[in-house]
Symmetry: C2
Subunit: 324 residues, 2 copies
């Protein structure tokens, strides 16, 4: 079998690991550095690893009837959930959920503390060469934390947040089943309206699906206590951005840190750039800029490559019915 | 006995707690809101709580021969270690070491992640309305952390840092005795030169004493690995600021976050304001802007007030011989 690998973020060590794994199961690896390099000769690849968003412009590849397994480097696969995107409709898609927990958990802790401790204000003052007067701070200690989306990202965050001695950490998931002991309790998404009024810090790491569209609506934003904080690291579709901007402007919400948006990159003329107490990061919480994330990503792919070659079930298979 | 309390950061609840405690030991409490309010009638106070830095301008009070116990709200007491500062040389000074661990630990985690994850770059870009391209990040995971100063602040940080799965957390203290199990090991200050080359993140929370003056010298900065990070939340005297600025400018040190400086406020014309990869905060890691810190501070004072009235030993007594 031929495996096409997009080498973008890979080091020589990563390639060596992939080569060794492929050799152990008699697979042939072909590397390309960009989608532009893809030609007819790549269309007999049975598996492809690493394209993520770039697959959208790899039209040739999408026309391949030989393609049976697409292993994407991202955790979210919403952009692949359009019917008719691939010639082979039975294509198995695996994602890299599990590779991003560490990076995104660190991001969530960082931006939460930046907001609570007014570090954006102090940093902005320091850029101007000003020794700013102290302002009131808040703390993760004794905060009531709600983690909406209890996958690898939510769980990795919750484990770290626990060390800060919060009042509680409540998980919210589709099933409401507590799979990780780090949560004080886990409720279903249907119960969210009862949880929001008891939330000081709301962390959202939901996949982008029809079900999550606008799930943090204007009405739900109003259920949060005065001065609550929001962090979104899942997908931008989940939040009513206009309602959030309104709530931030009037001080109803204490602060929000968004790494994902309805439209990315965030348009130049978006009001969000100037919204008060809104911390914008350009979708960098979990990309491939942290070496650990790439290591883990490659490790997960290699494990699946062995399973695939041996006809065993793959891990992290996307359920196309739910979209993640 | 009369107790003079500086009410600056106190809420009505704090005053109530102090009043109740004082009543239980037949002490009389007098509140002042500023040092300017201090008059002759306050000079018979036996104990004073809360002045911190402000005591320096409370000259009348310092002339009081009745003053036997000064309970300061700060952890550092370097500014009180001048001989002849008080009329009563036998004055007992207690500090509030133990009240700041939570706040300062959160600060250290926040600024470490801001540097490692390039969040200052992203925040500065967002102020300009720019969706900045991703840059390489680093992580607390697998980092070798050295905590120089293993008091309440260092320990509170280490407990939180542990949840981020670092490679190791090494404590450095005067005694070298491991009093807290969170450290992989604790070495003496004399062994620091062997530890620095194995340090990715150096956290300094040392008291300001003659012994700590310039302790992170130009030579020691050179012992750190290429790209290491430094956080200082102790006292500004500990670091050779010129040497640090030089190391940051040439990229030898990956980043530094200073909350304390040789001179505070940092002078307008200091080169540090413009030093590359230097994150400046205006001594806000541990002041009284976090409600939890004030709660804890008042709680510690009340505990000592009961002990004092009952002739029992006080906690957090400053050892004037070592200066903390």
């Amino acid at each position: 079998m031929k495996v096409l690998v997009y080498a973008g973020a890979l080091t020589q060590e990563h390639k060596q690991k992939i080569n060794d794994t492929a050799a152990s199961v008699n697979a042939q690896v072909v590397y390309v550095d960009s989608v532009e390099e893809i030609t007819e000769e790549h269309l007999d690849a049975e598996a492809v690893y690493g394209f993520g968003f770039n697959i959208m412009s790899a039209e040739k590849l999408r026309e391949s009837k030989n393609l049976k397994w697409l292993s994407v480097t991202s955790a979210g696969v919403d952009f692949l959930m359009k019917p008719g995107l691939f010639a082979n409709e039975d294509l198995i898609i695996t994602n890299s959920a599990g590779a991003y927990g560490v990076s995104i958990a660190e991001h969530i802790i960082a931006v939460s503390l930046m907001m609570m401790r007014k570090l954006t204000y102090h940093y902005a003052s320091s850029i101007e060469g000003e020794w700013a007067p102290p302002v009131m701070q808040r703390s993760l200690k004794d905060s009531r934390i709600t983690v909406w989306g209890t996958g690898d990202i939510g769980n990795s965050f919750a484990k770290r947040a626990k060390a800060f001695e919060p009042a509680c950490i409540i998980g919210v998931s589709r099933s409401g089943i507590r799979k990780d002991p780090v949560y004080d309790s886990v409720v279903t998404s249907a119960e969210i309206d009862g949880i929001l009024p008891k939330t000081d810090l709301l962390v959202m790491s939901l996949p982008g699906t029809a079900e999550t569209n606008g799930i943090l609506s204007r009405e739900r934003l109003n259920l949060l206590p005065q001065g609550a904080y929001i962090v979104n690291v899942g997908r931008g579709n989940a939040i009513d951005e206009e309602a959030l901007a309104d709530a931030l402007e009037v001080g109803r919400i204490g602060g929000a840190a968004l790494d994902v948006f309805q439209t990315e990159p965030l348009p130049k003329d978006s009001r969000l750039w100037k919204t008060k107490n809104l911390l914008i990061t350009p979708h960098v919480a979990g990309n491939l800029t942290l070496p650990y994330t790439v290591d883990k990503n490659v490790e997960m792919f290699c494990e699946n490559l062995v399973a695939y070659a041996n006809g065993q079930p793959l891990k992290h298979v996307v359920d196309k019915a739910v979209g993640y």
